[in-house]
């Protein structure tokens, strides 16, 4: 969690735990009338992000929670966002393994979901930040994808349908549960990545995938510059790979300054062949090769890589600018005593670190400098975790692009009174 003390006005007065979309609707309508702001959440894994100064550890459940729109003890009109958690909306509503689709409550934990799918040899390849212990709804709301998106598509490509309660209390069921659907405008994509600013996601339909027979990760150790060059070679190689990451420091686990982790997924023959050809292209034997469960565990651990860090940023530019993006990320990492992890296929570099009270101004400066450098090359720097003061100075995203005010008009269509605390992402 952020080390900055939460501003007193932002401590939530309560957490409500509705058990159905109708109950969420009642909570939203009541909040709208009372002028209370709502903060949609799953398990609260990432509530520190967004600058709410909310510590999920302090939550309470007055009246046992769960009662539809239970009465607010603090009365309306305060500035305190009330957390509306989807945690109890955790049922699996529809799962037909042979269709490779599933519909579940937004609050189902992704860990729990993985256990539901496992016996059928299937999975939901969401590997964005916190997709290990977070909820399905939160993964969709944050819309952030991980390295596997090169192979399986981004989060948005695998969400088929949603049930949402909008900021003004309408229940919408959008999309469907079939894999191809172009009926009407694509509101599902609008809600994916909307970060709770348009509505509370209550139910999600997703596309599933068969777990591949073979899972191998090749780890190539080297110096930082060599690692980037090797990663780029793999990315532009003819052999399709599932993910390529550049991990600096000890976490690569190969005892070198940096490691390139190349993940191969597929049939046994296909993976064997890919492995031989990638090794030939790399011009060196891998420092380590992880197979089957080991490979899987290695990547599953990395999903939680940022957990608990006080400062988390995400830098993105075109993949062939990986060296520059990484250099920019390292500068931020140096300031926060942190580390970087790069998804070479997408050109995305994540930074995690921490920040002492004294360094806030310098950190803000450093982040702004990084963002300017990234923007100059057509890239972006977004914050996903930072002390409130830093976030206030730097801004989470650095503002919208040239979209001519569409964003704010969309926000007011779904949440005209700004009942939902998150502003446009």
């Amino acid at each position: 969690m952020s080390e900055a003390a939460p501003a007193a006005a932002l401590v939530p007065d309560r957490v409500v735990l509705p058990e159905s979309a109708e109950e969420v609707q009642a909570v939203v309508l009541e909040a709208g009338e009372a002028g209370t702001r709502l903060l949609p959440a799953g398990r609260g894994t990432w509530l520190g992000a967004g600058g709410w100064g909310v510590d999920p550890g302090t939550r309470s459940e007055p009246g046992g929670g769960g009662e539809a729109g239970g009465r607010s003890e603090s009365g309306g009109g305060t500035d305190n966002p009330r957390i509306v958690s989807t945690e109890r909306l955790d049922a699996v509503h529809h799962y037909e393994p042979a269709d490779l689709t599933l519909t579940a409550g937004a609050g189902i934990g992704l860990d729990h979901l993985a256990r539901v799918l496992e016996p059928n040899g299937q999975w939901l390849p969401f590997d964005g930040p916190a997709c290990d212990t977070g909820t399905l709804g939160a993964a969709v709301a944050s819309g952030v994808s991980g390295p596997l998106s090169a192979r399986y598509g981004a989060t948005r490509d695998n969400v088929l349908g949603l049930e949402v309660v909008t900021g003004d209390g309408r229940i919408l069921r959008i999309g469907g549960r079939v894999v191809k659907n172009v009926a009407g405008y694509d509101l599902v994509r609008l809600f994916t990545g909307s970060r709770g600013s348009l509505g509370v996601i209550t139910r999600v339909s997703v596309r599933l995938f068969p777990r591949p027979d073979a899972d191998v990760t090749l780890l190539f150790g080297g110096d930082a510059a060599g690692a980037v060059a090797a990663a780029r070679r793999v990315c532009t190689h003819e052999v399709p790979v599932a993910a390529v990451e550049v991990i600096e420091g000890d976490e690569g686990g190969v005892g070198r300054a940096a490691a390139v982790a190349v993940r191969l997924l597929g049939g046994v023959d296909e993976v064997d062949e890919s492995r031989a050809r990638i090794v030939a292209a790399a011009g060196a034997d891998p420092s380590a090769a992880l197979e089957g469960g080991e490979s899987r565990a290695f990547h599953e651990r990395r999903i939680g890589w940022e957990a608990g860090a006080g400062v988390v940023a995400r830098l993105a530019a075109l993949p062939d600018r990986l060296a520059e993006t990484l250099a920019c990320a390292r500068a931020v990492a140096a300031q926060t005593g942190g580390a970087t992890s790069a998804d070479a296929m997408q050109g995305v570099v994540r930074v995690k670190g921490s920040c002492g009270e004294g360094d806030l101004a310098a950190l803000a400066e450093g982040l702004l400098r990084g963002r300017r450098e990234m923007a100059a090359a057509g890239g972006t720097l977004t914050l996903s975790q930072a002390p409130a003061e830093v976030a206030a100075r730097v801004g989470w995203t650095g503002g919208g692009g040239e979209e001519g005010g569409l964003t704010s008009r969309i926000k007011s269509l779904f949440d005209p009174d700004s009942t939902l605390a998150p502003s446009c992402p």
Binding site: R173, G176, K180, A183, D186, F209, L413
Partner: protein, 488 residues
């Protein structure tokens, strides 16, 4: 016909070659490939650049006329049909590939680039553009973006939306916005995703950035021949649930096979068969044979009387021929063709196919199915003659029943052709009032005056504004939630 002053200013913007106003030449712009709907446009303009589009939009809206964007006119839902004397903005002259960035596997192009031309150009870099509608040698990328088009290989690779990473769009008020771009990591709402599939109602895409993929090294193609179409449906569902991921799985049914074999496109499919299933695997050479062998075994277990496999590219093209030429061949055996486009959960395919054939029999109609089976995306095509009024009425009733059984199975009314004009009255089958109201709202976020492609996608009677004026001010109430069977 448009006012003289408008014709003059459009000529000033797009040049004399860029404006079409004479009646004969307007004829081809009256409809798209679903020729049942025809309306004459006021005029057609053919701009060359974003700036010309912007100025044309401003000129047309100053005269209070609606605008319809148009690519190649291969749409199958009446999307590009100009209602209300609209001026068509065609992208035929915006056909340049602006850049191919091989290092990042992406390309930037104008919207009028033909789908297949992009892959042809990218081939020099060992890359291609994955979404491959069967119309790919004719349709434009702009049309693909507007319809969120799919294609046979979208089973493995996903539809258009997955590949569009950035857009330059001219809005109805003549402003130019840039959405996404340089990959799709841009923070904020996924406005690119929202725009894709907006069927020309949100804006005119004038520059499109897309992702490309490396051309797969190997391909294996199989053709399963079945005596019962349900068996072919079962083979598809078994293959998917066994964890195999073919690049494509397409079914061609008996009536379609016979139409193809009777035509100049004869592909050598047995004419007494009730279904042919084309299955393709692609990727690294290693392992492809084993995958193909497993799929062939599933076909046999499901009752295939024969499974052929292609030994070389020539044979592969022959196996595909019957699928690719199906629409063309059907066009030759009946004066009119009603193309449906529903998606159902894959496991319901056998039952739905049976249901469709029963409905056809009951109404005495020929229903020919040719479709993207792996995705559960059906195209039951009803062959008829519109001069026969009784038949026309049976067609409408049968088509509605088919739609209904697809929706009842958990499916949807369109998988890839879009709603357009043709399916807008089916929208209430899958969406309630709250969802339709919201879609109207989103449309107005982009285009408050309903200038762009009016009368498409959403049925007028669901317009909350119209309802408000009818009910005289009852809009302030919170709309109630309406059930939508398609979801849960």
């Amino acid at each position: 016909m448009i006012p003289k002053a408008l014709a003059v200013s459009l000529t000033g913007i797009c040049g004399p070659d860029g404006v079409i106003a004479d009646r004969d030449r307007l004829l081809v712009y009256e409809s798209d490939a679903l020729t049942a709907y025809r309306h004459r446009p006021g005029a057609v303009v053919l701009p060359r650049t974003t700036d010309e589009v912007r100025r044309a939009v401003q000129a047309i809206t100053r005269h209070g006329l609606p605008i319809v964007p148009r690519g190649a006119g291969t749409g199958l839902s009446g999307g590009a049909v100009p209602l209300g004397g609209a001026v068509v903005i065609g992208t035929a002259r915006m056909n340049r590939i602006l850049s191919i960035d091989a290092a990042n596997r992406r390309a930037v192009l104008q919207p009028g680039v033909i789908n297949a031309e992009l892959s042809a150009a990218a081939a020099a870099h060992g890359l291609y553009y994955a979404p491959d509608p069967s119309s790919q040698t004719a349709c434009t990328i702009g049309g693909n973006v507007a319809e969120n088009s799919g294609g046979p290989h979208c089973l493995k690779y996903g539809v258009t939306s997955r590949y569009v990473t950035g857009l330059t769009v001219v809005l109805a008020d003549g402003s130019v916005v840039r959405l996404g771009g340089q990959g799709r990591e841009a923070p904020g709402y996924d406005l690119v995703g929202l725009f894709v599939g907006s069927e020309g109602c949100f804006g005119i895409a004038t520059e499109i950035e897309v992702g490309l993929l490396p051309v797969p090294e190997g391909v294996r193609t199989l053709l399963g021949i079945f005596d019962r179409i349900e068996d072919a449906g079962r083979a598809v569902s078994d293959i998917v649930s066994a964890g195999l991921l073919p690049a494509a799985m397409e079914i061609i049914d008996g009536p379609t096979i016979r139409a193809v074999e009777d035509s100049v496109f004869a592909a050598g499919y047995p004419t007494d068969a009730e279904a042919a299933l084309v299955i393709e695997f692609d990727g690294l050479e290693a392992g492809l044979d084993a995958e193909a062998a497993r799929a062939a075994e599933f076909c046999r277990c499901a009752g295939a009387r024969e499974v052929r496999s292609a030994k070389d590219e020539e044979e592969r093209l022959a196996l595909w021929k019957g699928r690719k030429k199906a629409f063309g061949a059907m066009g030759r055996i009946a004066p009119d063709l009603l193309v449906q486009d529903a998606t159902v959960p894959r496991t319901t395919l056998p039952a739905i196919l049976k249901g469709i054939s029963e409905i056809g029999k009951r109404y005495g109609l020929v229903v020919a199915n040719v479709f993207h089976a792996g995705d559960g995306n059906l195209h039951p095509n009803i062959l008829f003659d519109r001069r026969d009024e009784d038949e026309l009425e049976r067609v409408e009733r049968a088509s509605k029943e088919i739609m209904q059984i697809c929706v009842d199975s958990g499916g949807t009314i369109t998988g890839e052709h879009g709603v357009g004009l043709d399916k807008k009255h089916h929208m209430p089958l899958i969406y309630g009032e709250a969802e339709l109201d919201t879609m109207w709202g989103i449309r107005r976020v982009f285009d408050p005056g309903e200038v762009l492609n009016p009368g498409k996608v959403l049925p007028e009677e669901t317009d909350p504004a119209a309802r408000a004026s009818r009910d005289d001010g009852a809009v302030g109430e919170k709309p109630a939630a309406a059930p939508a069977p398609a979801h849960a």
